[in-house]
């Protein structure tokens, strides 16, 4: 039995050490918001935070995450909620499939840089592919989330 802490909840699962976290989350625990896109850390659809760091869950074995805090799209954080609101205001998604990963990557960015520049955003978000091509909206929405957050602090 292995114990995983996801979004503050503990899950005991039966799985091999080398199983990538993605499949443990999706097939065993049943949280399907984290997506499979490539299996090679190329597309970012499976992005999660592990102890606050952005990682591709398709390439992280569960042995690595035992005892660490895993955060997925099913979770909630201050930055993620501002981003969600900004995503809604900007009507960002098309098919929506990559957006879990996009939001998680954006959360990791705002967790580290309070007010990212366009270049910061390009650097932080270019590991996430959106085949529908919503990049310009994602970029705008990240700036918007920063604005929402600043107004909220007023």
């Amino acid at each position: 039995m292995k114990s995983l802490s996801i979004n503050g909840k503990n899950f005991s699962i039966e799985a091999q050490n080398e199983m990538p976290l993605l499949w443990a989350i999706r097939d065993i625990i049943g949280l399907t918001g984290t997506k499979f896109g490539c299996g090679l850390s190329q597309c970012g659809a499976c992005s999660v935070l592990i102890n606050g760091n952005l990682m591709k869950s398709c390439s992280i074995p569960i042995s690595y995450v035992e005892g660490k805090e895993i955060f997925t799209i099913e979770g909630s954080s201050k930055n993620l909620e501002f981003l969600r609101e900004a995503w809604h205001q900007g009507n960002v998604p098309q098919c929506g499939f990559c957006q879990s990963g996009q939001l998680i990557a954006a959360t990791a960015l705002l967790d580290k840089i309070e007010k990212p520049t366009n270049e910061d955003i390009d650097n932080a978000m270019s590991g996430n592919i959106c085949r529908c091509g919503t990049y310009t909206r994602i970029k705008k929405a990240i700036h918007k989330a920063v604005e929402l957050k600043m107004n909220d602090n007023d």
């Binding site: 896109g37 490539c38 799209i73 009507n91 998604p93 085949r131």
Partner: protein, 741 residues
């Protein structure tokens, strides 16, 4: 347009047919295929075949059944908004449920950028009918004439005393009202639209941002197995022998099953490739099992396919006359003889693959004499018929549930991955989910055809185009349905080749033979990608030869304003094409002085009855190209949801960039060489420029396509901009192969 009958379904029947708990008014109508007309409904309630339903609950909640698949084009929102507008509904009360695959919904095939084009009017009529029934119910209650009632934001108002009744409170009375006759249905005037033509947000936003939207792979059934399939590297090869021992040793692997190719009957369906399936307790174990299979393949006839030598062969073929295609006119030979200048060019676009973010996948449960599937499919009725055909089931015993599609782009209009799931479920006698790896997706697709085009054009003394010879060769999509279809079909040549929009007196189009060695399918914009690239690039070359500004040259070549009726309800109007070009050019500041190393390029294209122009600005530095700006203008007639159209066009620019910059699928000894996003590259955020979209206000004209028309212009506009910036002509895609990226 004839609507003969809209039928009020009884609650019982509705529940029976659709399994929805409901109450109140439920309306169905029938739409025959793509014809925007209602056809009589059967009086036999059990076989009543409606296309679309409006259900108003007593609590005021309105549920719409969406018959078209949602793959990012926003159709669930668009269809709902058309009904809500005519119904005068409050958007907050609207929700959408996805239809299963069934012919009672009319044509559900979500392709060809036609959902809004074919369904807007039926949807509006559905909304208008319900509104009339609610008004009728209210007028009876008040004892006044219907003319004295108006519907406003989910209420009916008595205009005499301003008393109001909530929609939900009228449900019981309205359900007893006679359905109005077709000729009495009155649609709103454009100026009164509340949602149509405005900016509505996706109705599924929360599910998309919370991770709760259910795509194919998210379907879970208790005790469901997971499957991965090893397929022959060469299309249509077969298994010679398997050593299963290593795969069987993988923890979680349950069974290893060989499945044979299912060959579709000529002219329809897709069949499946066959191979060796690993059945496991989770997706990862299935993937691992598959990697550990030791399979000897009989590679079959397609092992000779090498795209390099194939392309050379086709290029050579294009040096000779091809098959003359109807639509050619005048005499190019004379025009060439009498010309001042002649130029020739050959353009090439490689095979491409859709690579939607969600790989092909399907969940199936075969239960002997019935079968249920859950899958992200664009064409659920074909899936249903195909399952019935291959597994010898009665059609009514096959249920196809359509999930969200994590992108489709044409890949998910093929049912092969669903057929695989059914075949395996039948074998293991239980539910199973087949998931393709990304490598499977890239190596075993229905590829976008590769094309080579030879163009020869002449200019007269005034620098006007006097003759145009166009020879194109590309493996036909028809080859996937009918073996030995080595020439292009009429529908393919009608995608921008033979209906070239320019006014050229001497025009000759020839088609050369091109055999298919892989499965060919349609990908977003289909053959327009080829015609748009070849024609726009060549016009730019002609303009340069004539020493004229490309913008002026294009406008001149489009000729006098003219309307070509054709067979369609959407005649081609050259003025609309000129208009989008002028507007995009103005937006881009065409003619302005650009920074050193920058260049502008333009392209126009008419597809899916929409008119698109794009101007691209590139910069060149150290022999590398950067896309700086994209300005696109579209005239798609009536716009149903402005922000959604904008989003589609922004996405089309990014999709088109992927084609221009990176897209290339190659085969060596019959096997596809690319396998994942590390060698089949995609446009990423860092590559993405400013994208500016202009939507022409043309609400009086019938709506035309939106999802696809923005794509074909991007690659030629980029290449023409590169010429403008550097003097280098790009005639072969992608740019990365030329070292420009």
């Amino acid at each position: 347009m004839i609507m003969t009958k809209i039928q009020n379904l009884s609650r019982r029947n509705f529940v029976k047919v659709f399994g929805l708990a409901t109450g109140g008014i439920i309306l169905g109508c029938n739409v025959s295929g793509d014809k925007k007309e209602f056809v009589p409904s059967s009086s036999d309630k059990n076989s009543f075949s409606p296309n679309l339903f409006v259900n108003i609950n007593k609590n005021g909640k309105i549920t719409l059944i969406a018959s078209r698949s949602e793959m990012g084009q926003g159709i669930r929102t668009s269809l709902a908004s058309a009904i809500a507008d005519e119904l005068e509904a409050d958007w907050d009360y609207i929700s959408v449920e996805q239809a299963v695959g069934h012919e009672k919904y009319g044509n559900q095939n979500t392709d060809g950028s036609r959902s809004v084009r074919t369904m807007l009017e039926p949807m509006r009529k559905m909304g208008a009918t319900v509104k009339m029934m609610l008004i009728s119910a209210a007028s009876k209650r008040w004892g006044i004439s219907s003319n004295e009632c108006v519907a406003e934001n989910h209420y009916i108002r008595n205009t005499k005393n301003n008393e109001k009744i909530f929609f939900g409170d009228l449900v019981e009375e309205a359900s007893k009202v006679k359905i109005p006759d077709t000729e009495n249905i009155k649609l709103k005037e454009i100026k009164d639209f509340k949602y149509i033509g405005k900016n509505l947000k996706s109705i599924d936003l929360k599910d998309f941002t919370n991770g709760t939207a259910i795509y194919g792979m998210d379907k879970k059934i208790p005790n469901m197995k997971f499957a991965a399939i090893a397929r022959c590297p060469v299309t249509f090869g077969s298994v010679k022998s398997i050593n299963k021992s290593d795969a069987k040793n993988i923890k979680g692997v349950d069974k290893i099953i060989q499945i044979d190719r299912l060959v579709p009957p000529t002219g329809k369906f897709f069949g499946m490739l066959g191979g060796v399936a690993v059945i496991a307790n989770n997706t990862w174990a299935a993937f691992q099992g598959k990697l550990n299979l030791d399979i000897k393949w009989d590679l079959g006839d397609n092992k000779s396919y090498n795209t390099d030598s194939y392309n050379q062969k086709i290029k050579k073929r294009l040096q000779k006359n091809g098959k003359l295609v109807p639509g050619s006119r005048g005499n190019v030979a004379t025009a060439f003889k009498e010309s001042k200048d002649i130029i020739e060019a050959t353009y090439h676009v490689p095979h491409l693959v859709h690579a939607p973010m969600e790989v092909p996948n399907a969940t199936a449960w075969f239960k002997g004499d019935s079968c249920e599937v859950w899958a992200p499919v664009q064409d659920p009725q074909t899936v249903r018929s195909e399952i019935a055909h291959f597994f010898n089931l009665a059609l009514e015993n096959v249920t196809v549930n359509v999930t969200f599609l994590g992108g489709g782009f044409g890949r998910k209009s093929k049912s092969d991955f669903v057929v695989e799931a059914v075949a395996l479920s039948k074998e293991i006698n239980g539910p199973v989910q087949v998931v393709w790896t990304r490598e499977d997706d890239i190596k075993h697709s229905f590829y976008h055809s590769t094309s080579t085009q030879y163009l020869k054009g002449s200019l007269d003394k005034e620098g006007q185009v006097s003759g145009w010879l166009h020879r194109a060769a590309f493996p036909s999509i028809v080859s996937s349905f009918k073996p030995l279809s080595d020439y292009a079909s009429g529908f393919e040549l009608g995608q921008g080749f033979i209906n070239n929009p320019y006014q050229i007196e001497n025009f000759r189009f020839e088609n050369a033979k091109a055999e298919a060695y892989v499965r060919i399918g349609w990908m977003r914009s289909v053959i327009h990608i080829h015609s748009g690239f070849g024609i726009n690039s060549f016009v730019d070359e002609l303009a340069a030869k004539a020493n004229k500004d490309p913008l002026e040259f294009h406008l001149e070549l489009l000729g006098i304003d003219r309307v070509i009726q054709g067979k369609s309800e959407h005649p081609f109007n050259s003025k609309r094409l000129k208009n989008v070009l002028k507007i995009a050019a103005k937006k881009s500041g065409w003619g302005k002085k650009l920074p050193e190393g920058h260049g502008l390029g333009l392209a126009i294209h008419y597809s899916f009855y929409s008119y698109v122009a794009t101007i691209v600005e590139v910069s060149a530095k150290n022999k590398k190209i950067k896309i700086e700006n994209i300005w696109t203008a579209i005239d798609c007639g009536l716009v149903l949801n402005k922000d959604n159209v904008k989003n589609q066009l922004e996405g089309a620019a990014v999709f088109g960039m992927s084609i221009a910059l990176f897209g290339k699928i190659t085969a060596k000894d019959g096997a596809i060489e690319q396998g994942n996003f590390d060698d089949y590259l995609m446009t990423r955020m860092k590559d993405t420029p400013n994208i500016d979209i202009t939507i022409i206000d043309n609400m009086e004209t019938a709506p035309s396509g939106v999802g696809e028309p923005g794509v074909p212009v991007i690659a030629p506009a980029i290449c023409n901009a590169i010429f403008s910036a550097t003097g280098q002509r790009v005639r072969t895609l992608p740019l990365i192969d030329l070292g420009l990226i």
